[in-house]
Amino acid sequence: MTEPIMRLEHLQRDFDTKRGKITAVHNVSLDIAPGSILCLVGESGSGKTTVARMAGGLLKPTSGDVVFEGHNIAGMSKDEFKAYRQAVQIIHQDPYASLNPIHTIGDTLRAPLLHHKMVSSRRAATLKVAELLELVDLDPPENFITKYPHQLSGGQRQRVSIARALTLNPRMIIADESVSMVDVSTRVSLLNTMLKLRQELGVTFLFITHDLAVVKYFGWEGNIGVMYVGELIEYGPTPQLIGRPVHPYTRALAAAIPEADPDITRGKEKLQLRSLDIPSLVNLPKGCVFHPRCTYFEEGLCDLAMPPLEHIGEGRDVACFVMVRDLKEGKDIFQPTVPERKKDKEGAAA
């Protein structure tokens, strides 16, 4: 196996809040292979963004390590850290907030090129900017270079953010909910652009989202980590994990998602959870964090300790006492949760 480009080792992050100390991320370990896609999925408060910020060097872990290309970032010299921050770029959720409104697109993209001496002259910088804009499908570049962010649509602004992330030839991009604020058709074209960049430039992606359907599309060739109130509860290759989720939380999530197909979505089973409410991070339940909501809950098993992430084959891991035990007893835990997609009924009414 190739050496991972990034290793997250037992990451934990605590925050002090008015209502007491919370642990936003608890014991998260993940390896990211070079050129691969890792998607972190979870609802609000799951800790996925906190993991992303630690991986990007924006936030120090309370404990645990971020190891980039074999070097622990906590032990890096100033120059090494700078090189790591150049190699790992972050695309934020909100392109309205992350682009400076008083700079033109050209200025915004030229600045890092000149600052980091990636180019020798302003003229060369402009050429490079045009190249970058074409790369993110803002074509022809002349139409965009002299524009201000407010003159662009949300999708175009997000493309500029991607172009800016690419200015320093990064080896890894962390995209935090980078397509959640745009319309459906724009979202697909942004995802397609990022997939193209991965193909052409071999960039590694850490992709953060709450949307399992987006992950299925973007991360099809990669892996998914599912997070729930700070814990990584399931991990595995995208097709297997989405097709046959094992953790009761992932199953609930997959079953809950409405589908743009009336027959499938109306045929889904009603949501079965013991409680609808996500527990407060200030007062997490004892034992498995999911047990108060879980329909598979077994007293004396699930309410004692948090289950560890265990291998269940096919490169998959799950943190669930019940599922791991059932697997050992030879039961089939890989049941599809969502009805199969029927063939399109095109012209059925005609």
């Binding site: 459906v184 724009t186 409405p258 743009a260 197909d261 009414a349």
Partner: protein, 369 residues
Amino acid sequence: MVQQQPATQPEDSTRNENAPVILSIENMSVEYKTPSGWMQAVRNVTMDIRAGDAVALIGESGSGKSTLGFALLRMLPRTARISSGTAIYRDRNGKTYDLTEIDDKTFRRMRWREFSMVFQAAQNSLNPVLKVSDTFLETGRAHGMRSRHEIRQKALKLLQMVQLDPDRVYNSFPHELSGGMRQRVSIALALLLDPQLIILDEPTTALDIITQRAIIDVVKNLRDEFDFTMIFISHDLSLAAELADRVATMYAGEVVEYCNVRETFYNPHHPYTVGLLNAVPPIAGTDFTPLTAIPGATPNLLHIPSGCAFHPRCPYATDICVQEDPPLVLLEGTRNHLVACHHHDEVTKDPEVWEKMEVTAEAQTQAIG
């Protein structure tokens, strides 16, 4: 519980096909005043809504779906005006009112009793200094419910129906509740006075998946229990697939397709509807589904393209599309599938048509003002 359409029902009819029309919107246009002139947010919308129907208004940002909803309920900001059209509302006694003309007093009297609205950000629609109980009491009293006891009983029943713990929630302040809980309180409140029509604006947006599912299930149960008509505004096609009987697809201020939900998803005839469907990632199925984006961006409403507003992004566009805005017409062989496209006969769901399309500079840059 598996809900399925009865097999005998033709694709193109609804259970409410013979119900009376309770809202008839005709030629409605709404514009916003901007420093660069009047911006056409809703353009000549004509549509009928029948009693008992759940109608979804879908479209991307700038499609005019929210503006249309706000215009019906007089929630437009001061910078907007209804520049043309009527919206005839028929109450349960058969009396009709033009919502664009009635005076404020009549309108206030009808609000909550005849129609109510659930807003996108429920935290903003509940008064933060009032307990949930006070909000229910105030609303009930202002509209003719005299007895405190009666209001309380009704409120507790509704809160129970939206899957909340009635006694706890009734005595809470909004900030003590989560976003999903507040949204469910708003839905319960909207039903307090048994309105005939409820308009929901993006009822599940910005909520977590499991919370979204809970809202969807709640709305389904309520519709089984109470017989209200519902218009909901959403950018999310899957919500329409879940809840709607009929779907109106909007683009650049116009309704471009209006038909039964199964027609929208299985037999769409407007290229924009097809484009949206091809762009939604499915979760079901164990295979990979390639997705195609609609080329270009939504138009700037100050410079709406000539003819059919969708033509710069449309793979079917020809000269006539540049010159003439197609009217909304009945699709041949159907009873109520309306579509506004010169080439609706040729439109298929085949994504290849889109992949072959050359993106014009016009489509790419039309969003730039």
